[in-house]
C-alpha cells in the first residue's frame, strides 16, 4: 500500500520528481566521467612509463637492483626461459642484457646504456618499435645494427646510416669493442631514456660481450597486467632461490607514489564535489517533502503513524534515487565508453608537449565496469544518507502543524 502510494506521489508531482531525478542522474554521470578521466590519465602515466620500456614485471638475480653489474646477472637465461614458458599467466617475456658502454663518433664519446634485445619479442610489449622516428627497427638476424635514442643521436651528431664505435667490457672484463651502423632512431618522449639508450640485437651483442645465455633481467607481461602484483607473488614463490620477480610498482616506485599523491588530490577534489552533491540532494529532498507537508499532515490525520510516513517517504526517495543513479550510471558509462573509443582530441597537444613524454593528442579516459559500479554506489549511498534529515525533520511536526503549514 505504502509502496503504491509512493509511486503515485512520485507521478503526481512530476516536476519535482524530474528535478531530483535529473540532478542525481547528472551527478552520477558527472562523477563517473570525472573518475574515468582521472584514471585515464593515471593509466596514461603508467602506460607511458611502464609500457614504453620498463614493462610490468622484471625477473632478475637478487641484488641486481642495488648493484647492476656483471656479478648480478642471470647466469642461465635458458632456465628462466623454461620456467616462464611453464607459466600460463605469463603472456610475453623477453630477456634483456644491459650494459654501460662508450659510444664514440669522431671526436665525441658519450657513455650510454647499450641493451641487447630480441627485436621481434620486444616489439610485442614495449613501445620501442612504435617509437621509431627515422630509419627502421631492429630485426632478429641483425648484426652490426644499432637502434638509438634521438637525443643520444643528437649528442653524438649522428644519423641513420652513420657508423659508430662501441667500447665496453665483455663479461670476462676483456674489452668488448665493435662498430655499429645506425639502423634506426627512436623517440619515446622520455628524455633520460632517449638521451642515453641504444639497442642492439641481443644475439649479436652476446657474441661481442660474451654474454650468451646470460641476461640482466627478463621483462614479463601477463595475460592480465592489472593483476601484475598477484602474478609477481606467484612467480616469487616458484622462482629459484637466487632470483626475484619485481612488479612495475617496485620498479617505478617514484611514479607509483606520484600517482598516489595525484589520486589523493583527486579525492580531495571529489570530496568537495561530494559535499555539494550531498547538500544539493538533501535540499531537494527536503524541499520536496516540505512541499507536501499538508498532504502528510492529512495522512497523519487519517491515521498514518510517523513510521508509516517515514516508510512512505523513504520508499519515494529510494525509488527516485535508484532510478536516477542507475540511469546516471548508464549515461556515464556510455559517455565513458564512447570517450575511450573516440577520445577527445586536442590537436597540437602532442606537438607542443612531445618533449615531456606526451605522445598523443588525445585526453585519455578509462572505462572500467567495477569503477563505474563503485562510483554509482557512492552516489547512491550519498543519496540515501541525504534522506534522513528531511524525513526526520518532517516527522517532528505535529499533525496540526503539518496541516496548517503554509
Amino acid at each position: 500500500m505504502l509502496y503504491s502510494l509512493a509511486i503515485k506521489n512520485i507521478l503526481a508531482s512530476k516536476s519535482r520528481t524530474l528535478t531530483i531525478f535529473l540532478l542525481s542522474m547528472f551527478a552520477t554521470a558527472f562523477f563517473i566521467v570525472y573518475v574515468a578521466f582521472t584514471n585515464g590519465s593515471h593509466e596514461q602515466m603508467i602506460k607511458s612509463s611502464v609500457e614504453i620500456y620498463t614493462g610490468y614485471a622484471h625477473i632478475n638475480a637478487k641484488g641486481y637492483q642495488e648493484e647492476s653489474d656483471y656479478d648480478h646477472l642471470i647466469e642461465d637465461a635458458g632456465q628462466i626461459e623454461t620456467f616462464l614458458n611453464q607459466k600460463p599467466f605469463v603472456s610475453n617475456f623477453s630477456p634483456r642484457f644491459e650494459t654501460y658502454a662508450l659510444l664514440s663518433q669522431k671526436e665525441k664519446t658519450v657513455g650510454s646504456m647499450i641493451t641487447g634485445i630480441i627485436p621481434s619479442r620486444e616489439s610485442s610489449f614495449s613501445h620501442l618499435k612504435s617509437s621509431l622516428v627515422k630509419g627502421s627497427y631492429l630485426e632478429d638476424n641483425d648484426t652490426r645494427a644499432i637502434y638509438i635514442g634521438s637525443d643520444l643521436a643528437k649528442r653524438l651528431s649522428i644519423d641513420v646510416g652513420d657508423e659508430i664505435a662501441m667500447i665496453s667490457s665483455s663479461l670476462d672484463y676483456s674489452t668488448a669493442a665493435d662498430l655499429f651502423k645506425v639502423k634506426g632512431i627512436f623517440k619515446t618522449g622520455l628524455f633520460d631514456f632517449d638521451s642515453s639508450s641504444a639497442f642492439v640485437n641481443k644475439t649479436y651483442l652476446d657474441s661481442v660481450m660474451m654474454s650468451e645465455n646470460k641476461a640482466s633481467y627478463f621483462v614479463v607481461s601477463f595475460i592480465d597486467n592489472k593483476a601484475a602484483d598477484h602474478y609477481v607473488e606467484t612467480l616469487n614463490n616458484d622462482l629459484p632461490q637466487n632470483y626475484e620477480a619485481l612488479s612495475w610498482k617496485t620498479l617505478l616506485f617514484d611514479l607509483v607514489q606520484l600517482i598516489q599523491v595525484d589520486s589523493l588530490f583527486g579525492y580531495i577534489s571529489i570530496s568537495v564535489f561530494f559535499v555539494v552533491i550531498f547538500f544539493v540532494i538533501m535540499i531537494f529532498n527536503y524541499v520536496n517533502i516540505y512541499a507536501r507537508v499538508r498532504q502528510i499532515g492529512l495522512l497523519r490525520a487519517l491515521g498514518f503513524t510517523p513510521k508509516d510516513i517515514r516508510v512512505l517517504l523513504f520508499n519515494e526517495l529510494l525509488i527516485i534515487a535508484l532510478l536516477s543513479v542507475s540511469f546516471g550510471a548508464i549515461v556515464g558509462a556510455v559517455i565513458t565508453y564512447y570517450l575511450e573509443i573516440y577520445p577527445i582530441t586536442i590537436s597540437g597537444l602532442a606537438e607542443t608537449y612531445k618533449e615531456y613524454g606526451i605522445i598523443s593528442d588525445t585526453i585519455p579516459t578509462h572505462f572500467d565496469t567495477f569503477t563505474i559500479i563503485w562510483n554509482a554506489l557512492s552516489i547512491f549511498i550519498l543519496n540515501i544518507s541525504s534522506m534522513f534529515y528531511p524525513i526526520y525533520k518532517i516527522n517532528k511536526l505535529s499533525v496540526t502543524e503539518a496541516m496548517r503549514y503554509v
Partner: protein, 409 residues
C-alpha cells in the same frame, strides 16, 4: 518598493531556516573546499617555480650562445665585467648572480657520480634568491680558504656523505686537462629544484675559475627582475644589448613548470566549473522548488496587485542573500584553511619519495592570493544568476487566477 521585496525575501529565508542554512552551507563548504584546493595547487606550482627561479634561473638568465645545447665550458661568457657593470647600474634589475659551472665527476673513497660543480658567490646568491634558506644541514659558508662546498641533499644521499666529509671533484678544464679538486662539505642544500638537489655541488667562484683555468669567466648570469610584469620587455632589451649571448626567461629554461602550471590551471578551472555547475543546480532546485511551492502565494500577491518586478526582485534577493551569505562563510572558512596550510603546511611525508621525485617538499604549503576570492565571488555570482533564470521564467509565465483556482496545483 524594493525594500518591501527585500524585506519579504529576508523573511522568507528566515522562515525557512533549515533549507536556507542548507543552501548556505552547501555554497560555503564547496567554496572553502575549492579555495583550499586552489591555494594548495598554486602553492605547489609556485613553490616549484619559485625554487627554480631562486636556486637557478632567476627571471632571466644570460648564457653564451650554444651553452644551453652543449653544456660545456667551451661556451662560456668571457669577461663578464662589462655586463656586471651594466647590471649593477640597471634600475630594473634587483639582483644578479654570476656562476661558473662545469660538469664532472664527484667521488668519495667508495663511490663516484656525475655532477655539476657550480662556482658561485654566496653573498650574491643570498641576495639573489635567499639561497641560504635552502640550507638543510651544516652552514652556509665556503670556509676561510674557500675549500668547502655545499651539496644537494639527494646527491649527498646517493654518495652517502654528510657535512664534514670530503669530496673529490674531477673535471676537464679549459685546456682539456682533467683536474681534480677536493672540498669538504660545509652544508647540504635542499632546494626543491631537482637539478640542484640531485646533481649540484656549490663552491666559490674564485676556486672554480682557478680549477677550470677560466679566470674572470661565467657560464651563466642570472637576473632577478624588480617588476615581474616587465620580464618580457627587459628580455628583449637585454637581447638587443648583448646580442652575442642567449637571453632566456625562466619559463624558457623550465618549460615543464609552465606546462604544469597550465595543467593545474585547467584542473582548477575544471574543478570550479564542475562544482559550481552542481552548486548552481542546487541553488536552481531550491529556488525553483520554493517558487513552485509558493506559486499560490505569488499568485495571490499578483492578484491583489503586487507588480511582477516586485516579486522578481524578491526571488533575486532570496537567491543572492543565500549566495552572499554562503560566499562570506565559505571565504572565511577557506581563508582559515589556507592560512593554516600556508603557515603549518600539510604533512605528506608518507608520499615523500613521489613528491620529492617531483621536486616538491613532503610538507605542502598553500598560496593565498586575492584573486581567489574575487574568482570565487564571480563563480558564486554567476552560478546564482544562472540558476534563477529558469525559475523566474516560470514565474513570469504563470496565470495567477488559474493557480488561485487550483488548476495548476
Amino acid at each position: 518598493m524594493y525594500k518591501i521585496a527585500f524585506d519579504l525575501a529576508w523573511k522568507s529565508l528566515i522562515r525557512r531556516k533549515t533549507r536556507t542554512l542548507m543552501v548556505i552551507m552547501m555554497i560555503a563548504l564547496s567554496l572553502s573546499g575549492l579555495l583550499f584546493l586552489q591555494g594548495l595547487y598554486d602553492g605547489m606550482v609556485s613553490h616549484m617555480i619559485n625554487t627554480s627561479i631562486r636556486s637557478d634561473s632567476g627571471e632571466i638568465s644570460l648564457y653564451a650562445k650554444q651553452y644551453r645545447l652543449e653544456k660545456t665550458i667551451d661556451y662560456h661568457i668571457d669577461d663578464p665585467r662589462a655586463i656586471k657593470a651594466y647590471l649593477h647600474q640597471s634600475k630594473e634589475i634587483d639582483a644578479y648572480a654570476i656562476r661558473l659551472s662545469g660538469e664532472g665527476l664527484v667521488a668519495t673513497a667508495h663511490k663516484s657520480l656525475g655532477a655539476t660543480l657550480k662556482g658561485v658567490r654566496l653573498e650574491d646568491e643570498r641576495r639573489f634568491g635567499d639561497f641560504d634558506t635552502f640550507l638543510f644541514q651544516g652552514k652556509f659558508d665556503f670556509g676561510p680558504k674557500k675549500q668547502e662546498a655545499l651539496i644537494g641533499f639527494k646527491l649527498a644521499e646517493k654518495l652517502k656523505v654528510t657535512t664534514g666529509n670530503r669530496l673529490v671533484f674531477t673535471a676537464q678544464d679549459a685546456s682539456g686537462e682533467i683536474n681534480a679538486i677536493s672540498f669538504r662539505i660545509s652544508g647540504i642544500i635542499k632546494s626543491g629544484n631537482l637539478a640542484v638537489d640531485e646533481g649540484s655541488v656549490f663552491v666559490s667562484i674564485e676556486t672554480m675559475e682557478q680549477f677550470l683555468a677560466l679566470p674572470n669567466s661565467a657560464t651563466q648570469i642570472a637576473l632577478r627582475i624588480k617588476d615581474k610584469s616587465q620580464v618580457n620587455s627587459i628580455q628583449s632589451m637585454l637581447q638587443k644589448k648583448f646580442s652575442t649571448l642567449d637571453v632566456l626567461r625562466w619559463d624558457e629554461l623550465y618549460p615543464l613548470l609552465i606546462e604544469m602550471r597550465d595543467m593545474m590551471d585547467i584542473f582548477n578551472w575544471l574543478s570550479y566549473a564542475i562544482v559550481f555547475a552542481v552548486a548552481a543546480l542546487g541553488i536552481f532546485g531550491v529556488i525553483l522548488m520554493s517558487i513552485l511551492e509558493r506559486m499560490r502565494e505569488f499568485s495571490i500577491m499578483m492578484a491583489i496587485g503586487t507588480p511582477y518586478k516586485n516579486i522578481r526582485y524578491q526571488v533575486i534577493s532570496e537567491a543572492f542573500i543565500m549566495a552572499i551569505a554562503g560566499y562570506i562563510i565559505g571565504a572565511i572558512l577557506g581563508l582559515g584553511f589556507l592560512v593554516y596550510t600556508a603557515s603549518s603546511g600539510i604533512d605528506l611525508r608518507y608520499y615523500q619519495a613521489g613528491l620529492e621525485s617531483f621536486g616538491l617538499n613532503a610538507i605542502l604549503y598553500a598560496d593565498i592570493r586575492y584573486h581567489y576570492f574575487f574568482q570565487a565571488f564571480a563563480s558564486v555570482f554567476f552560478a546564482t544568476s544562472l540558476s534563477i533564470l529558469w525559475p523566474l521564467h516560470v514565474l513570469k509565465k504563470i496565470k495567477p487566477i488559474e493557480i488561485i483556482q487550483g488548476k495548476m496545483l
